[in-house]
Symmetry: C2
């Protein structure tokens, strides 16, 4: 357990006045970015004991505010199983869980932190892609854990998967099934998951000496079925179509299967498809979708355990969990 | 605008002491059900002005706690568009929105109300199926609106659709497509939506003189794809299979399409299927799913407008919104 931290101790270590520390916590918009960063670093080094007092762990259970889970899209079933895990862990420690559907940005993070304070939040688990400055500012307001998505440039602990390796397994599978004209449907580049999966895809293609057609590298700005469907239709209806698609989410995978049908292509005979996430949708499509399973419940449960540890003033160690390929009809030749 | 209400006024009208009113609001577990009901009724009659003071509308915007949206299942994409509407309406009035994934019951409603207080909630929009006692107790804690689902035995205002009529349109459509052996996959009976849609289904069958096979009336205890799939497989693999299925959700509709495929039946040639909700899944299945569109965004937006009206101390009038049938491949003979 970390030694109980006071604002004075932080001030002393950061070489600023206690009033400045207080301002960083309560009104960071009044403090320079440099000073904010220094003070936040000291708060992290010293542990969360003083914030714990402010945010409720030290209070009796009946006064503890909720753990807030911050998700970027409510309509993506990917998140529900993670929140399920968070909730089960939180309840063992007597906390409620509320979900905030919002992606705080530099221009809105002040308002976001104020809103967390108004709802008396005890801690935050974020699955959004946040800038370093944004996440550090939130983390200075209350103990924070990154889950699924993570910004590697901050010290805020995370629970995630190795997107690059998992993508490599998926792409190697397409190649082992005979695919040579490989395409990718990727997500917004601001997301680590999208960058990692793209890297995995490109690295396998490079190592295997597979030429990539630039028209087969699709980037969809949102995890949106309709957008992905349009983009995939355009690709598959051209004269030169790929024979294997790595879709960075099951939503995209379902969209590729739909687009193939519109283009008159048979999956898996003309085109093989691998998705990512293993949400229900992967078994709703015809054919069913080969995909990469993420241990979503465990990600949520572990992330909340780390958060509770930080809220108690302890150190939390980041975790990278294992994934596995689930082979279904979309890559099984009949 | 309602006259400003005080605890004294409520106590006077209910014929109890102010301390009892306070207990009903803060510790209802200490008060008899009968007294709680009487006090809650008086609070509703007198309007919300005093609760408004306690829960924040009278406070400056920077001190207003969130509007909480209470949903029964996070993994049902049906809710996301409703929450989207809630959020847009809430933001125009300067409120944040947090989502609570929980179905409070009689045994947990005290803890649930306490948790709403801890998170400083200004108002609640619930989409859960709640008992009369449960919803009235929540409504006495803070202004509440029922959305999508509603308990007709309470005076708590709602925004919903006419499930019975909408189901009738769907079933009439199956009949007009030539279906005579009609089945239904329905949801948990505790939900008004499931009861209403079942009633609509039965009433059309009765009027049209269509005999129903009891084995074709399926009730799935949860809006769960796998459960519905198992139940539908069992029905479709028997010797005597229906030729038209009314599925009370698109999740169920997708499950019936999957089950038909397993049973070697062609949709729509051997079996026609109509879903309900018009979520993305209805266009992800092969064939795409005919369904009943609910104006989900508008339901959420309207529910939040009603809530804001109540939070200002005004009266809120319940609304029933229109639905429409969207015909897709699952009922279009090729």
């Amino acid at each position: 357990m970390a030694k109980k931290m006071t604002i004075d101790l932080v001030a002393q270590r950061a070489g600023v006045s206690p009033a400045t520390v207080s301002r960083v916590i309560n009104h960071p918009e009044l403090v320079s970015a440099k000073t904010t960063a220094r003070v936040n670093a000291c708060i992290r080094e010293l542990g969360y004991a003083s914030l714990v007092d402010r945010y409720g762990t030290a209070r009796p259970p009946e006064e503890r505010g909720p753990i807030v889970v911050n998700i970027p899209w409510l309509d993506n079933p990917f998140y529900s199983e993670i929140v399920h895990g968070v909730r089960d862990s939180a309840r063992t420690a007597g906390y409620d869980v509320l979900i905030s559907w919002d992606t705080p940005r530099q221009s809105t993070v002040g308002a976001y932190c104020a809103s967390l304070r108004r709802s008396n939040a005890s801690g935050l688990i974020t699955m959004c892609s946040l800038s370093t400055e944004t996440i550090e500012r939130i983390d200075a307001t209350l103990p924070t854990i990154q889950c699924a998505e993570n910004n590697p440039e901050t010290d805020v602990p995370y629970v995630t998967i190795d997107d690059r390796s998992a993508a490599r397994v998926a792409v190697e599978h397409l190649i082992s099934c005979g695919c040579r004209r490989l395409a990718i449907v990727s997500g917004p580049e601001s997301y680590k998951y999208a960058r990692g999966r793209m890297e995995g895809f490109l690295s396998v293609a490079r190592e295997r000496g597979i030429d990539l057609d630039p028209n087969w590298i699709l980037q969809v700005p949102d995890n949106n079925y309709e957008l992905a469907c349009s983009a995939a239709c355009h690709m598959l209806e051209s004269e030169n179509a790929p024979d294997g698609v790595f879709a960075c989410s099951d939503t995209y995978g379902a969209a590729v299967i739909r687009a193939a049908r519109r283009a008159g292509l048979s999956v898996p005979d003309d085109l093989m498809v691998v998705g990512f996430d293993n949400i229900d949708i992967a078994t709703m499509t015809t054919p069913t979708l080969t995909t990469v399973n993420q241990p979503r419940y465990r990600m949520g449960y572990s992330a909340c355990n780390l958060l509770l540890e930080r809220m108690r003033g302890g150190a939390a160690r980041s975790m990278t969990l294992e994934t596995e390929l689930i082979v279904r009809e979309s890559t099984t030749r009949r």
